[in-house]
């Protein structure tokens, strides 16, 4: 099968949906001629024009708030937020408006909106352009949060997100946008709440998200040679979370490492660890180990940033400790 990048896979999904549904439009900062900060909307401006690929002012409250309004008015906005770090400025629109309108109004109306949000630390972007705090959104009832890892997952989940009637936080990650993978040319969807076992194994389960999935797979290949068999489970949807697939893996291995780039304290890794501890205690042969970003803002200086970003070294230490 042909291989394309994560970025190209997203672009393909956007193009398909723009072509097939006039109600779909995109807006965000620099998504037009520039094609977005990470090139996801490249070429769409030329193909669909300025009425559907809309450059906005630097105005996150309006970008999200007017997006919610557009959804109420009968459209399907697919919105790009350049960095997740910019969402605190429009948190009211996300937490108080977007997520609650369907509920507060007794189900009278829907808010079909997709916020594509880039997260993750990479390339010395320092403390305000490197965060991964999507657990804020996972925490909030009413939002669906997906975090695809491979180009295949990215295209299938974005197709699902655009067709869905709920407000969706679609988390992309800087370190994986240019990674290639096999992607069918035809249209397909991946359901929310369905994890993917990226590699089967018997000794240790690593539940990992996004860039850490690639680190976990690299470690699994490395440790296979030492006779340690690692299973890598990628939730893909953070909410709804596919507990069943995670639980089945833990039943098999009895050992769990959870790795997510968000801050550990009250983060996604902690939530998954707590869920397994609460519901699968009898199957665990060792305490769960969590991996995440340190309880500090992301530093600028490259050696410090390297130390900050969780990756294969932390995973290796964890697996060695747990076996």
């Amino acid at each position: 099968m042909r291989e394309i990048t994560y970025r190209e896979a997203l672009n393909e999904s956007l193009r398909y949906n723009l072509k097939n549904d006039k109600r779909v439009f995109c807006w965000g900062e620099d998504i037009g001629i520039l094609g977005g900060a990470f090139g996801v909307t490249a070429g769409l401006y030329n193909e669909f024009g300025p009425d559907r690929i809309i450059d906005t002012p630097i105005s996150e409250i309006a970008i999200v708030g007017a997006g919610v309004g557009a959804a109420l008015g009968g459209l399907k906005p697919v919105i790009e937020i350049m960095y997740i770090d910019f969402t605190p400025g429009c948190m009211d629109m996300i937490i108080n408006q977007m997520s609650k309108i369907h509920y507060m109004f007794g189900g009278q109306c829907k808010v079909p909106i997709v916020l594509r949000i880039v997260s993750g630390a990479s390339g010395a972007n320092a403390a305000q352009h490197s965060q991964s705090f999507y657990s804020f959104f996972v925490h909030t009832p009413g939002l669906i949060v997906v975090a695809p890892t491979t180009p295949y997952d990215a295209k299938g989940l974005l197709n699902t997100a655009i067709q869905d009637d709920n407000p969706i936080i679609f988390v992309e990650n800087k370190r994986i946008v240019n990674i290639k993978g096999e992607v069918p040319e035809e249209y397909y969807k991946i359901p929310f709440g369905k994890a993917d076992v990226k590699k089967e194994g018997n000794d240790v389960t690593i539940v990992a998200t996004q860039a850490l999935v690639y680190d976990a797979l690299k470690l699994a290949a490395e440790m296979e040679k030492e006779g340690v068999s690692i299973e890598v489970v990628d939730p893909r949807s953070l909410k709804p979370l596919d507990k069943e697939t995670i639980f089945n893996s833990v039943k098999k291995t009895g050992k769990l490492v959870v790795a997510d780039e968000g801050w550990l304290y009250c983060g996604m890794a902690s939530e998954i660890a707590a869920t397994v501890a609460e519901e699968m205690f009898d199957y665990l042969d060792a305490p769960i180990i969590r991996i995440g970003s340190p309880d500090a803002p992301c530093p600028f200086s490259p050696p410090l940033e390297n130390a900050y970003i969780p990756g294969i070294n932390q995973l290796r230490d964890a697996v060695k400790k747990i076996i």
């Binding site: 309006a62 997006g67 109420l72 108080n96």
Partner: protein
């Protein structure tokens, strides 16, 4: 603009409808029949009525926490509003929303809003959707002078101006943000001057003169309907009661009795009533009948609310997500 007798009589009835409803629910609130909190707009009735007199069923409104008047003026019915205030399953939002989250999508009421300024960017987006879809629908965004100092005000109006959204922004300037007077909130005489920075028309009008409001609204709504973009209208008015029903001293802690009495002299309901009687368009008897009819409707609405069931506890999870 000469306003027909029929329209004036209709506007009198609409204002009276709001006045009687809010005076009644204040009693019911004090007597413990209505839970939570609510914000009365008594004294400000001319604003929603003067504007909504121009709307069609398919036009939209978005409102604020002080929104009973807007909902009634757009066609909201006593009984479903009362049931919602009582927290009953027969209310507009099945008892899930309450006073700050009234909505009736069928007649274009896209929600009152518990967050000051929260509805402004949403309205910009609803108006964008009408324009995008080539519809001649108009969206009205009602909010207070307090909201005019939020970031959402700036971002929402700027965005609507850039996109030439089919929207009219209506500042219901009642002089106080809870207890804080204008002098501590902004440094301008007329808030409509802020329209200049978005290069859209800005108008200030006597918000206690429903005919004057009607005139200004006509132009602003026609402009939005034609797709020529937003207008910012400031209606100067006054809140007779405290910020919320049940506020100690009902507004007197931070305002003088004289100030409150002076504004009561400008009562918009009495002004129109006296005008119509002076013109011999109606008699005192007609007014009395109007009042009796609405009071009877209120009695029915209270009965309806009282006999309606509370939502079952199982409804707690209904409509968190679109299934």
């Amino acid at each position: 603009m000469a306003i027909s007798k029929e329209i004036k009589v209709k506007m009198l009835k609409e204002m009276l409808k709001i006045r009687l409803f809010e005076e009644k629910i204040q009693d019911l609130y004090r007597a413990g029949h209505i839970p939570g909190s609510m914000h009365l707009s008594t004294g400000q009735e001319a604003v929603p009525v003067g504007f909504c007199a121009h709307l069609k069923k398919e036009d939209y409104i978005l409102s604020s926490h002080r929104g009973h008047g807007h909902v009634l003026a757009k066609g909201g019915e006593y009984k479903y509003m009362m049931a919602e205030l009582y927290g009953r399953s027969t209310g507009y939002c099945k008892g899930i929303g309450g006073s700050m989250h009234f909505a009736n999508i069928e007649i274009g009421i896209l929600g009152t809003n518990g967050i000051v300024g929260g509805g402004i960017p949403l309205a910009a987006g609803v108006g964008f959707a009408s324009k995008y879809l080539g519809e001649d629908k108009v969206t009205l965004s009602f909010f207070g002078d307090g909201a005019a100092n939020t970031g959402a005000f700036h971002e929402g109006i700027n965005f609507a101006a850039v996109r030439k959204s089919n929207v009219v922004f209506v500042i219901e300037n009642n002089q106080y943000a809870i207890s804080v007077p204008r002098s501590l909130s902004d440094c301008v005489e007329d808030l409509s001057i802020r329209a200049k920075s978005y290069n859209i028309p800005g108008v200030t009008v006597d918000g206690n003169d429903v005919c004057a409001v009607y005139d200004v609204a006509a132009g602003a709504i026609a402009r939005a309907r034609k797709g020529n973009g937003p207008t910012l209208v400031e209606c100067k008015t006054y809140r007779w009661h405290g910020h919320h029903a049940g506020e100690p001293k009902d507004g007197l802690l931070y305002r003088s009795q004289k100030e409150m009495d002076d504004w009561r002299e400008k009562d918009p309901v009495r002004r129109l009533k006296e005008l119509l009687i002076g013109e011999k368009s109606i008699t005192d008897k007609d007014f009395e009948n109007m009042q009796k009819e609405l009071e009877a409707e209120l009695v029915e609405a209270i009965k309806f609310a009282e006999i309606s069931p509370f939502p079952p506890v199982s409804a707690l999870y209904d409509n968190v997500y679109v299934k």
